[in-house]
């Protein structure tokens, strides 16, 4: 799988402008014959709790329509984060991560399991309720958003099926070291390929250094882009399952034992 990491400096709460920039990246990734390009969390608005402004209806998202169009135009899968307005009967929105394939079909959608309560995210967005894994281009892909990265349990759950973990984020520069470390940690402990895509630039008083990276199933960084907007292209080989077979750490996990502590 050939993946492009679209490290975007999105325009704050401005989908149109951001999508314009994103399209250039999509075109670039397509030229590089990538199978998929991944954009950050709330890719075209920036991380905002101003749901009225950035939120979109799940059933009729203009952004999604635009992305589908781009995917079809350039023949490349596009994964991106966005904010969904509350569903009927709900008061809070959802922080979503959607993957559209090259034909413009939505193949996976994930709602952030762990809203970032420190940033009051939980007041605006309700948490998701499932770990999402799905087949894509012969691989099993799992989707995660930002703060989820700090919770290894869901990655282990996903790793039962998936060998490619995609994490999108608006991860501030001040905690960049955590971002980089945790991405590699998740890769090592789950023996999975991990693709982490962060935004870059300054928005709403926060600074983002990017540091998007792809990590292979033994923790090697396949590539990283820091401090600037750009597209990083990485080839994800298919060695995770073989590694898991040879170096079977998962079988030594004692989930029954752990479970006793999480009741």
């Amino acid at each position: 799988m050939r993946v492009a990491l679209g490290q975007l400096d999105m325009v704050w709460e401005n989908q149109a402008a951001s999508l314009k920039k994103a399209e250039e990246m999509v075109a670039e990734a397509a030229r590089e014959k990538c199978d998929l390009i991944v954009f950050p969390e709330m890719a075209f608005t920036g991380f905002s709790i101003n749901l009225d402004k950035v939120g979109e209806d799940k059933s009729c998202s203009a952004t999604k329509a635009e992305v589908v169009s781009m995917a079809q135009t350039y023949g490349i899968g596009i994964a991106y984060g966005w904010a969904a307005l509350p569903s009927p009967g709900e008061k809070k929105g959802r922080n979503l991560f959607t993957l559209i394939d090259a034909q413009g079909v939505e193949v996976g959608e994930y709602a952030k399991l762990h809203p970032f309560s420190y940033g009051m995210e939980h007041e605006t967005y309700c948490p998701g309720d499932q770990v999402v894994t799905f087949p894509y281009l012969g691989r099993q892909v799992a989707l995660f958003i930002c703060y989820d990265l700090r919770f290894p349990e869901i990655f282990h759950i996903a790793a039962r099926k998936a060998d490619v973990m995609m994490v999108i984020a608006n991860w501030p520069a001040m905690r960049s070291a955590h971002w980089q470390t945790l991405l590699r940690a998740r890769a090592i402990e789950t023996q999975s390929y991990v693709v982490g895509v962060n935004c870059v630039g300054e928005r709403d008083g926060d600074f983002y250094s990017g540091d998007s990276m792809a990590v292979d199933c033994i923790g090697n960084i396949l590539g990283q882009i820091s401090g600037r907007e750009g597209v990083l292209v990485c080839e994800l080989e298919d060695r995770a399952w073989r590694l898991r077979e040879k170096f079977a750490t998962a079988k030594d996990r004692r989930e029954d034992f752990y479970r006793g502590f999480f009741r």
């Binding site: 250039e24 670039e28 870059v200 630039g201 396949l222 882009i225 820091s226 080839e235 060695r239 030594d252």
Partner: protein, 872 residues
């Protein structure tokens, strides 16, 4: 070679090795008498130099020497390596057996087994077997590839392919992985052309030779200068760092501790760096070469079942160790470096800056970088164009970065953590500012700087003193009087015991008189001392006699007491001295003294004989002649009994019960030294004395504890550590004024020679010190450093209180002596003065060698230009 020169030479070797100038280091080593080098750390470096310069036999000999003292696996490991290199396979096998007996870890044993067997031409199957076993123990990338190649050569295609796939699986990226891919391709394509890979990854990459390593003998002075400059730079940086915020200091402290840790890493049982084949390789280089080590990953069968989760645990530990060892110098994280061979020079500053922005945890920095990036998109794009990092083509397909390619986007900015980390290193060359090293070396260099300060300082001192006198009722002067009074009162009834008598007493107990030849004299002296004590207690105003008894451990003529304050002098009646000469003594000549005199003659003769023999070992013929001349002078000095000090003829302080200043009647030698004719007569020609039976014959000198020469590793010394040179090149009158104005007691260094001059100057200093209350008694004990080295100074310390110890040839002071001296200086702080005398250059070396010593001495006085009128 003197100790200090040796120390500097050794430090120079260390320095050259740090700079990878092995040939030059070898040239320096060849100037060193290896027998004098005892520190293991030094020997290790020497052995390393020999190895690097392919002096394998010498290296082997050095490691053997080390091994004799330090039976470590690491040394054996080196010896095996060297034996293989020199094709001494029998030796290698013997060392290997010894190595195995020391229970090394299986990995090392197997690797060594493989090396030896390979060198001895063992069969391919046997070699494969060893590496298979190694794989079970620890999966190491380069060894895995070696195994794959062996499989290939022996036609075991399937196993070769499987091994290559394992390499790719486990290590993912890197040069070896790429070669494994190529080998698989070769096997799958069934290429008729034989696959040949001559690169041996099991040996470290050979270091690029340092072009500056010409092999010529480097200048020692240059080295010292460079050290100074370097030290200055460090100080400047430290000062700068101190000015920064606490966090910076905290961060800055970490590398220092790591440096220390590295320094301490001296022959521990740790020989991770496998330098077979091409010698040592620096650890970062090794890390760059992507040496992956995964422990226990391939433990199979029962072993795997038995250990269960232990295998991953071992892996973690081993990897952590590996990372620490490999990366400790530059924190290069191999796993974060997907690319090899990135040309550091191609990574421009902007890229580093951007990476730094990405990595820096400081929000402030991040903000600044972020802003700059967002505002200067085009500029960044331009910079990004230059970010193409050379690498293997096969890697290019794995990792590429493309920008959106339009306005504000970046193009072709491949980002690699590895190249970033390695490219981030910048070679910093410290500018070298040569300055004068002529004459007295460091001290004289400082003289110019100090000279300007001197006048002002002098004025300030005088001013300060004047103010004190005017405004303070209990002023300094009155304090001095009180102190002196107290000191003198304390001394009433106290006999002055010769420096060496206390040590000999316990040894003489139980020993029949006459058996050792000294006991008679010693007893007699003891009796004299007792007599003197009695006299003193009865007649407080009477002068105390001082005698020096012959002491077993001290070479004759070692100590000379210069006593200025004897009220009565019976110079004409003085008897020969036993050991160190008394400048004055009272009482009539006694038969015991005559016996002692004879014994001393013998002892001197023997001493000279021994010294000449010793000198012959170390010095060239010319030096021997010089030494002989010096010995002759030493003998003369032994005969010098008293130095007349006209200024001290009149007792400066008169107090009941106090020892007054003494005069003596004696003949004045050509140099102005008062010499007792009797003493001169009593000393035979030392050369003639060699033929006579020595009084020391049969005497076994007690063992003098020898401190290991670890201290010989050159300590850093700062300018602040060196004695101030405020007195350098000043008129002696001014110097004395300065001393008189000191508010704290001081010790002194005299640079220059001339016995008369030394003693004259010392006496003046002591006089001033006594006047200012810093010496209660004011006698001078003169001794050569060589003699004092052999004494147990501590046991005589009580006799030094209130007096001055004048040490000639100070640069010969050994560390234990200096330590003892320190303790005495501390104990009698304010009532004891040490004057060190030697040539300037050697003193410089001494102070560099023992910085703590330098700190104790405020004054360096260059006496070489002083005329008799200056100090008389």
């Amino acid at each position: 070679m003197r100790q200090y020169e040796l120390a500097i030479r050794i430090a120079q070797v260390h320095h050259l090795v740090d700079e990878r100038k092995y040939k030059k280091a070898l040239a320096v080593i060849q100037t060193i008498d290896m027998r004098q080098v005892r520190a293991l750390s030094d020997l290790k470096v020497f052995a390393e130099v020999y190895t690097k310069t392919e002096q394998y036999d010498a290296a082997k000999a050095t490691y053997l020497r080390i091994y004799r003292r330090s039976h470590t696996k690491r040394v054996l490991y080196r010896l095996i390596y060297l034996s293989i290199r020199t094709n001494a396979l029998n030796d290698a096998e013997a060392y290997y057996q010894e190595f195995v007996r020391m229970n090394p870890n299986a990995r090392d044993a197997l690797i060594l087994r493989y090396r030896i067997d390979k060198a001895s031409g063992a069969s391919m199957d046997k070699l494969i077997e060893i590496l298979q076993e190694l794989k079970q123990e620890e999966y190491i990338e380069e060894w895995a590839y070696e195994l794959a190649k062996l499989y290939h050569r022996s036609g075991r295609t399937e196993e070769c392919k499987e091994e290559c796939e394992d390499i790719i699986l486990w290590f993912g990226t890197g040069e070896i992985v790429e070669r494994a891919r190529i080998l698989i391709d070769h096997l799958e394509e069934d290429d008729a052309a034989p696959y040949y890979d001559d690169k041996d990854f099991t040996v470290p990459k050979k270091e690029e030779p340092n072009p500056e390593d010409t092999g010529s003998l480097p200048d020692l002075k240059e080295f010292i200068r460079e050290k100074k400059v370097h030290r200055k730079e460090e100080q400047r940086e430290e000062r700068h760092a101190e000015g920064g915020n606490g966090e910076e200091r905290l961060l800055g402290g970490e590398p220092q501790s790591k440096k220390e840790a590295l320094r301490d890493d001296d022959f521990v049982d740790d020989y991770v760096d496998d330098d077979f084949g091409q010698g040592d390789m620096d650890l970062p280089q090794k890390a760059k070469d992507g040496i992956h080590k995964l422990s226990g990953l391939f433990k199979l069968g029962k072993k795997e079942e038995g250990e269960g989760g232990g295998a991953p645990g071992k892996e973690q530990l081993s990897t952590a160790e590996m990372v620490e060892r490999l990366v400790r110098t530059d924190k290069l994280d191999r796993v974060e470096q997907p690319r090899r061979g990135g040309d550091l020079s191609q990574i421009d500053q902007s890229q580093r800056r951007e990476r730094q922005a990405g990595k820096d945890a400081s929000q402030k920095v991040e903000r600044q970088e972020g802003k700059s990036i967002s505002r200067n998109g085009e500029e960044s794009a331009v910079m990004a164009d230059s970010r193409q990092v050379d690498g293997m083509e096969s890697m290019e397909k794995l990792v590429t970065v493309k920008s959106a390619g339009t306005a504000g986007m970046l193009r072709n900015g491949e980002v690699s953590r590895k190249s970033g980390a390695s490219g981030g290193e910048e070679e910093v060359r410290i500018g070298f500012v040569p300055h004068s090293q002529s004459g007295m070396g460091i001290t004289q260099d400082l003289a110019k700087e100090i000279a300007a300060i001197y006048e002002m300082e002098h004025k300030e001192q005088l001013k300060e003193k004047a103010v004190t006198v005017i405004h303070d009722t209990s002023n300094f002067a009155s304090n001095v009087v009180d102190r002196m009074t107290q000191a003198v009162q304390k001394n009433i009834g106290k006999g002055y015991i010769p420096l060496d008598i206390e040590e000999i007493q316990p040894q003489d107990e139980g020993v029949p008189k006459g058996e050792q030849g000294f006991s008679v004299g010693a007893d007699s002296v003891e009796a004299q001392v007792a007599e003197h004590r009695e006299i003193e207690s009865e007649e407080a105003s009477e002068t105390v006699r001082e005698e020096m008894a012959f002491e077993e451990n001290i070479e004759p003529g070692g100590v000379e007491l210069i006593q200025d304050d004897m009220a009565e002098f019976e110079g004409e009646k003085t008897r020969p001295q036993e050991m160190g000469e008394l400048i004055q003594e009272g009482g009539e000549e006694e038969p015991e003294a005559v016996i002692q005199e004879e014994m001393r003659e013998h002892a001197i003769a023997k001493m000279l004989e021994e010294e000449v023999a010793e000198t012959q070992k170390d010095f060239s013929q010319g030096q021997i002649a010089e030494t002989a001349r010096q010995d002759s002078e030493t003998l003369k000095s032994l005969m010098e009994e008293e130095i007349r000090d006209p200024e001290l003829e009149e007792p400066p302080i008169s107090h009941e019960g106090e020892e007054g200043m003494l005069e003596e009647e004696a003949s004045v030698s050509r140099e102005g030294v008062i010499v007792r004719d009797r003493a001169r007569e009593s000393f035979p020609d030392p050369r003639a004395a060699q033929d006579q039976p020595s009084g020391l014959e049969g005497y076994q000198a007690p063992d003098i504890p020898v401190v290991e020469t670890e201290y010989m590793e050159m300590p850093e010394i700062t300018y602040e550590d060196l004695p101030t040179t405020r007195a350098l090149q000043q008129s002696f009158g001014n110097v004395l004024k300065l001393i008189a104005g000191e508010l704290d007691p001081s010790h002194f260094v005299l640079m220059g020679d001339g016995s008369e001059r030394i003693v004259g100057v010392s006496k003046q200093i002591v006089r001033v010190m006594k006047e200012t209350g810093y010496l209660s008694q004011g006698r001078i004990a003169k001794i050569h450093a060589k003699q004092i080295n052999k004494m147990d100074l501590i046991s005589f310390r009580s006799q030094l209180k209130g007096n001055c110890l004048l040490v000639e040839g100070a640069s010969d002071l050994l560390f234990p002596t200096i330590t003892r001296l320190f303790s005495i200086m501390e104990e009698y702080y304010g009532d004891f003065v040490v004057i060190l005398v030697d040539e300037g250059t050697t003193l410089d070396q001494l102070f560099r060698f023992v910085p703590a010593l330098a700190k104790k001495f405020k004054y360096i006085i260059d006496i070489s230009g002083y005329a008799p009128e200056d100090y008389c």
